[in-house]
Every structure is written in C-alpha cells, then in structure tokens.
C-alpha cells in the first residue's frame, strides 16, 4: 500500500521549524561562545594587570630580590567577582614568597606580556597569568617569575547566566519562528486552497475555464486544468452532437418507412400481411419516438450548460403542447383536458428545454393511458409555477420516482409498452437546470400524477 504523501502545509511547517531549530541552536552557541570569550578576555585582562603590577614592584639590590606586593593588584582581582586568588614569586629557581605548589608555565620564556594558562590546583581549577622579569642582584641578572592565579567561579557564574539567557533567547526565537512558519504556511497555501474551493464549488455541468487570479507558480496547473476542461467540453459536445445528428438521421428514413408501410397496408388484402405491417408501423413509431427522446435529451444536456434566460409564458407553451398532442391522443380516443391556462404565467428559462419537458410529460401520459380516458393537464401558480399531468394509467407500482427518473430506467410494469426510459430523465434535468423540481406520485383512483415545479420569473 502506498503511503499518502505528507500534506504541503505539514511539509512546509516541518521544514521551517527545522530551519528555525538549527538557527536557534546556532544562536545559542554563538551567544555562549562570544560571551564566554568576552568574559575570559576581561578576566584575563584584570589578572594580567595584577600580575604586571606585582612584576613592576620587583626590586634588585645587593642581598636579593625585593618585592612589595601592591595591595591594589589583589584588591582589583576581587572587584569583578569574588574569586579565590593565589600567587607565587620565584627568583632564580627558588620560591621567594606565595604558594609554593602553584603550577609553573610549561614554556618559561622572557615574556614581557603575561602568559595565561589554566590548571587544576588544590581542590579547584585556576587561570594563571605568568610574567618574567630580569632583576639585577649584586649586578647580576636574576630571572624572576611572577604567577598570579584566580579561580573562575565568577566567570562560570557569568557563563551560566549567559547560557540561560542564550537558551531563553534560542527558545524564544524558535517559538516565534514556529508561529511565523504556521502563518507562512497558511499564507503560501491560501491560493491553492482558494483555487480548490473555486473549482469544488462548481456545478456538475459547469465546464467554463478557470480564470481565478493565481500566483505564477500555479499558472501551469491552471493552464493544464483549463486545457483538460476544454478537451472534456469538446468531447461532450461532440458526443451530444453525434447523438442529435444520429437521431435526426434515423427519424427521416423511419418516416419514409412508416409512410410506405401504411400505403402497403391499405393496398394489401391479406389480413396476415396487414397484421405484419401494423407491427412494423408500431415498431417504427416507437423507434421514431426513442430517436426523438434521444434528441431531446441531447438538447437538454447540451443546452443546460448555456441556457437562454428569457421570459416565457407557460400558459401558451402548455396550450401549444396540448394542441400538438391532440392527433396522437385522438388515435387512442383520449381526451386532453387543459386547465389554468386562461391567464399568463411567466417564468424565466430556455424555451426548447421547457418544451422538451412538456413534450415528454405528455408523451408519457398518453403512452401509458388506456384508451378512452382523460389526461388532465393543469397549470397553477403559487410561490412557483406548477404543471401537473395526470393520467389513469397503471401508475408507478410502488417504485420510487428517483429510480424511474434515471436514464434508461423503466417501470417494472411497462414491459408491454415500448419506451426508451429517457422521458422522465429529461423532465428532471430540465427542472434542475431551471432551479425547479419534479415529482411523480400515484394518483388517487389509479394512474400517475407528474408535477413539474418551476420558479416564477
């Protein structure tokens, strides 16, 4: 199983946090190192000054090296921090005064500037400054070494304080960076989310190109997406055109076949032949109707993307359709009773679509009505326009409208009647395209009742 890749936001946040952590650690160590060095340099400076002050007080003479320890040299060592102080003055290899076990420097040169080194001494660690001086004793130069040592507790305390501050600084900057990285991630990803939203909000038939303003980085994606949409739109449109043309091309020869069959039937004397021709005519009729429905459906699908939006008088449309179906109804001795069309009912929409819906409703009602019954076609208005078509057919036999309205679905009890099953689908799609709805219910006293609701214009 492939693992889902990390989300962009998480990836971005993690990477920014990683960078922030590295920077915080670098900051911590930099501050510490710089502060440690500064503290050490300061303390070395004071220690060196004290050592030099003692070296300055060295005096030669006839009896030996004299030294007058300057009070201030020691006093100043205590001025920065309360650290322990040790010293040793060595003349010609002999310890003159001080702490005899204080460690000597490794390389004893004639250094004018103090040499610094760190050593373990007694129970602690000390920093030692050493200065060499030549002193004349009985006119002979004697090397004198002055050592002053100081513990570094003060410096360690400073270092500890600095470390705490540095740690706080590091953590603080990391926390800040964390917040900022969250904000940044949100910011960077916002155009993507906006685009996803815009595309996601589209209706099922909306195949316009995406013209959302997007950052340059997303433009290739938009470009590709639009290309894909265009291809899809082209393919759909070609398909519908194909179906429409195919239906059209089928209908015309069918009409010819039907005309010829009717003539042949009238001329034929054989009852057997006439029966066969009647069946041929029925089949041709049904094929023609299916072709018509396919054409209607293609029209609905094709037009619902770019519907006209004009004011239409439903009353007139209903009257016209009722008129158009009267010859077909007469064949079965059906009465079409039209009510509610005495005053105009205006809706906004696409005329061919609404006509297709009405046509299919009436066609269905007539098809399923037994001979010598009445089909009621009524128009009413309330908060919306309602067109109701009721027949006395065999009803729905308890099947849900949702299923019946599916493309190519037909009722269980429709087996003996020829149909493509597209009719109700077309009605439902027209209703949806106009923001209306379609209901199909059992009619009291038998039959079905189809209602098409359309918003008033």
């Amino acid at each position: 199983m492939r693992r889902a890749p990390l989300s962009l936001r998480l990836r971005l946040v993690l990477q920014l946090l990683g960078i922030a952590a590295v920077l915080a650690i670098v900051l911590y160590f930099t501050v510490r190192t710089v502060a440690d060095q500064a503290a050490e340099a300061t303390q070395d400076g004071v220690l060196g000054a004290a050592t030099l002050a003692i070296a300055e007080s060295l005096q030669g003479g006839e009896d030996g090296v004299g030294v007058d320890l300057p009070y201030e040299a020691f006093s100043i060592l205590g001025s920065i921090s309360a650290d322990r102080v040790f010293y040793r003055i060595e003349a010609g290899g002999q310890t003159l005064t001080g702490y005899e076990d204080l460690p000597l420097p490794e390389a004893a040169g004639a250094a004018v500037a103090p040499v610094f080194y760190s050593r373990a001494y007694r129970d602690t660690e000390v920093r030692i400054a050493a200065v060499n001086r030549m002193v004349l004793v009985a006119r002979k130069p004697v090397p004198v070494l002055v050592l002053v040592a100081q513990t570094r507790q003060g410096q360690e305390a400073i270092a500890q304080r600095v470390a705490q501050r540095a740690a706080a600084l590091g953590l603080g900057s990391f926390a800040l960076a964390a917040v900022l990285s969250l904000l940044t991630a949100g910011n960077v990803l916002r155009p993507i989310n906006r685009l996803a939203d815009a595309v996601g909000r589209r209706g099922p038939h909306d195949l316009r190109s995406v013209d959302q303003p997007t950052p340059a980085e997303l433009r290739p994606l938009i470009f590709a997406l639009n290309g894909f949409i265009a291809r899809l739109r082209g393919a759909l449109s070609r398909t519908e055109t194909f179906i429409a043309e195919a239906a059209h091309h089928i209908r015309t020869p069918l009409a010819t076949v039907r005309a010829r069959a009717e003539i042949a039937m009238r001329q034929s004397n054989s009852e057997e032949t006439r029966e066969t021709l009647r069946a041929v005519i029925r089949a041709v009729e049904e094929s023609s109707r299916s072709a018509g429905q396919l054409l209607d459906h293609a029209t609905v699908v094709y037009r619902s993307d770019r519907m006209a939006d004009e004011a239409l008088d439903l009353a007139k449309l209903v009257e016209a359709q009722a008129e158009a179906f009267r010859p077909t109804a007469d064949l079965k001795d059906l009465t079409i009773r039209v009510t509610g069309t005495d005053q105009p009912v205006t809706v906004r929409g696409d005329r061919p679509l609404i006509e297709a819906a009405l046509r299919n409703l009436l066609d269905n009602a007539i098809k399923y009505s037994p001979d010598e019954t009445t089909v009621d076609l009524s128009l009413a208005t309330g908060t919306e326009a309602r067109i109701e078509v009721s027949d006395r057919g065999r009803g729905l036999s308890g099947q849900a409208q949702a299923r019946l309205a599916k493309r190519f679905a037909r009722g269980k009890n429709a087996g003996d009647i020829i149909g493509s099953g597209l009719g109700l689908t077309i009605v439902e799609e027209v209703a949806a395209a106009h923001g209306g709805r379609f209901e199909l219910t059992e009619r009291d006293g038998g039959g079905a009742c189809a209602r098409l609701f359309l918003p008033l214009g």
Binding site: L69, F74, A82, D83, R84
Partner: protein, 343 residues
C-alpha cells in the same frame, strides 16, 4: 559570673589535649537529652556570645555547645596548619579568615539568612560577617588635663607633639607583631593614609605601651595608666566605658576603620549543618537583635555606614591576603619597628 566562666575555662584548658594555645573552653550542655554537639572555635570571649548560645539552645534543646576561645593566630593555625575539626570558626581577624576561605578551608553555605546579607558582608558563600565594629580612639579627660579632644589624626599628632611630657609612657596601642587584630588595623591604617606613619613616629618618641587585646587597653585607661589608647575595638570600649564620665570614645573623622566579625564553616567540620544553623541564627533578625542588645556587638547595618561618611569598612577581598604575605609582613613590621624606635 565572668570569674566563674574564666575559672571553668582555665580548668577545661588544663584538661585540653589540643596542641594549640587555648585561652578558654566552655561546654554548654544540652538543655534536654543531648543528641548533637556543636563545636565553635572563636576569638570572641565566651561572655559575649553566651546569650546567643543560650537562645540557640532554646531552639535546639538537644544540642550541646563546646565553645573554644583562642587568639586569632591560634584560631587560624588550628584550621590552616593543624586541620583540627570545628563546626564553626568565628574570628575578628578578617585577613586570616579571608585567607582560610581563599585557600579552600571553608565549606560553602547558603540559606535564606545568608541571602539577606549585603554584598560587602560576605565573600562567595564561604565567609559571612555577622557584626560590624568600629576601631576607635579612647581618651581619658582627666589624663588630658583640659586639652581639647582630638578629632582627626592630624589633631592627635599635634597634641602628642605639643605635650610630649604628658603623654610619655601613657599612650597605648596594639602590638602588630604579636596581635593579629593589631597588625590588621595597622596595615589598613597605613593603606588609608600616610598620617599613620607620622603618628607611629610621634608615638615612637613617647615610649608607647604595646598590647595584645583591646580589653587590657580599656582596663589600663580606666585605671589611669593610659591617657590615650589608639585602635581599640569600639564594641568592647563602649559597653565598658558607658558609665565612665572620664573616658571618651572617639571615632576619628579623617577615617575610622570598620571591622567585620566573620564566621566560616571549616571543611573539616564534623557537623557542618549545625555550624551552618548557628551561623544562620547569628545572621537572622533575632540573632542580630540579641547581638546588639545582649552581646554589645553592632549588627550588620548598611544604613550605619552611609550615616557615617568617616567609616571605612574593610572589604572582604583578596587584597587582605597581601599583608599576610611573609615578605610583605616582614617589610611592614620592619618599617613599624623603625618608626617606633627612631630615636
């Protein structure tokens, strides 16, 4: 009372097997069943700290206190050279205490009581001051015979120069060679101003009497053997001269040294926690009040220093080590001897 303590001390002294000169040793048995013993080595007389020990034992009734008094040099040597075990070392010799702490003989100690101390009253967490005492000049009015009381060292030098006969053999001061406190005062005086050496020279011509303790100088002044005593501990002089109309305590205005009496817990302590407890008791408000009211030792008081601009508190710092250096000490004492015997 004092006599009894002294007598007891002498008896104990006789019994003591320690290899250093003990002046007095006193055992304060625990008020209740004894569970622990606190041993204190101190330069401060038993009588001075007795009320504090008693108050401490009220709080800690199962503690017996062994209180040993010795000279500051002996106290220093007992810890530094002999490594004897005591739980608390109290001394007025700041320089020697500082050296003990600097050389690592003092154990760290931290508590809420020590946290309250001002920065100048402690060194690291190893040396704590619990009393600040001025170093004063004491004079006898009758001995001066109507001469004006000197207010500065310059006054004093002029007074001595002007009336050598009155003061000959009747001036007292510490012997810096024998007394640790005397050496500390003399060296710090010398640091403060050059007038110290002129004073030494003038005194040298007047056959001064040299002492090893403030108490002896105070006694001799009260008994008329001294007219002036220079560098006496004010904390000893003031209570003893309080009812004496003839004696005056003078804080010289050019500078008056302020000594810090300090305590430290040696690393060799058997019961360092007890030593720390007693030290905290001395530093806490109750102990500080008892020190002032009962022991006559001025408490640590920053305000007193700012009120007296002539006061020069000696700082607990490595500078104190300088005069403990063998060469430096020899040089200083040579100069002192030369100043004193110029004629």
């Amino acid at each position: 009372m004092r006599a009894i303590v002294l007598a007891l001390g002498l008896i104990l002294h006789a019994c003591l097997a320690a290899g250093f000169p003990v002046e007095e040793e006193m055992l304060f048995p625990a008020p209740e069943t004894e569970r622990r013993e606190l041993s204190i080595l101190s330069t401060t007389d038993t009588g001075v700290l007795r009320p504090l020990i008693a108050a401490f034992q009220v709080r800690e009734p199962d503690v017996a206190v062994r209180y040993t008094v010795a000279s500051s040099q002996a106290v220093y040597a007992a810890i530094h050279d002999e490594g004897l075990s005591f739980d608390l070392v109290i001394s007025s010799a700041m320089d020697l205490q500082m050296k003990l702490a600097n050389d690592g003989f003092s154990a760290p100690h931290d508590s809420t009581a020590t946290d309250r101390l001002p920065a100048w009253a402690h060194w690291q967490d190893r040396l704590y001051a619990f009393a600040q005492e001025n170093v004063v000049l004491i004079a006898s009015r009758s001995g001066l015979g109507g001469l004006p009381l000197p207010q500065t060292r310059r006054d004093l030098i002029e007074l001595l120069r002007g009336h050598p006969d009155r003061f000959r053999g009747r001036i007292g001061t510490y012997d810096p060679e024998l007394s640790g406190a005397g050496y500390l005062f003399a060296t710090q005086d010398a640091r403060q101003s050059d007038s110290f050496w002129r004073l030494a020279e003038v005194m040298g011509g007047l056959a001064p009497r040299l002492y090893t303790s403030s108490n002896e100088m105070i006694t001799d002044l009260k008994q008329g053997r001294l007219v002036l005593a220079y560098n006496v501990l004010g904390s000893y002089a003031e209570p003893r001269l309080a009812g004496d109309d003839d004696a005056v305590v003078i804080e010289l205005e050019d500078h008056t040294l302020t000594l810090l009496r300090t305590g430290l817990i040696p690393v060799t302590a058997r019961a360092p926690d007890l030593g720390g407890q007693f030290l905290d008791f001395l530093l806490a408000p109750e102990g500080q009040r008892l020190l002032r009211d009962e022991a006559g030792l001025p408490r640590i008081d920053e305000a007193a220093l700012s009120r007296g601009p002539h006061l020069r508190p000696m700082r607990l710092e490595p500078g104190l080590l300088v005069f403990l250096d063998g060469l430096k000490r020899r040089g200083f004492l040579d100069e002192w001897a030369a100043a004193l015997s110029q004629d």
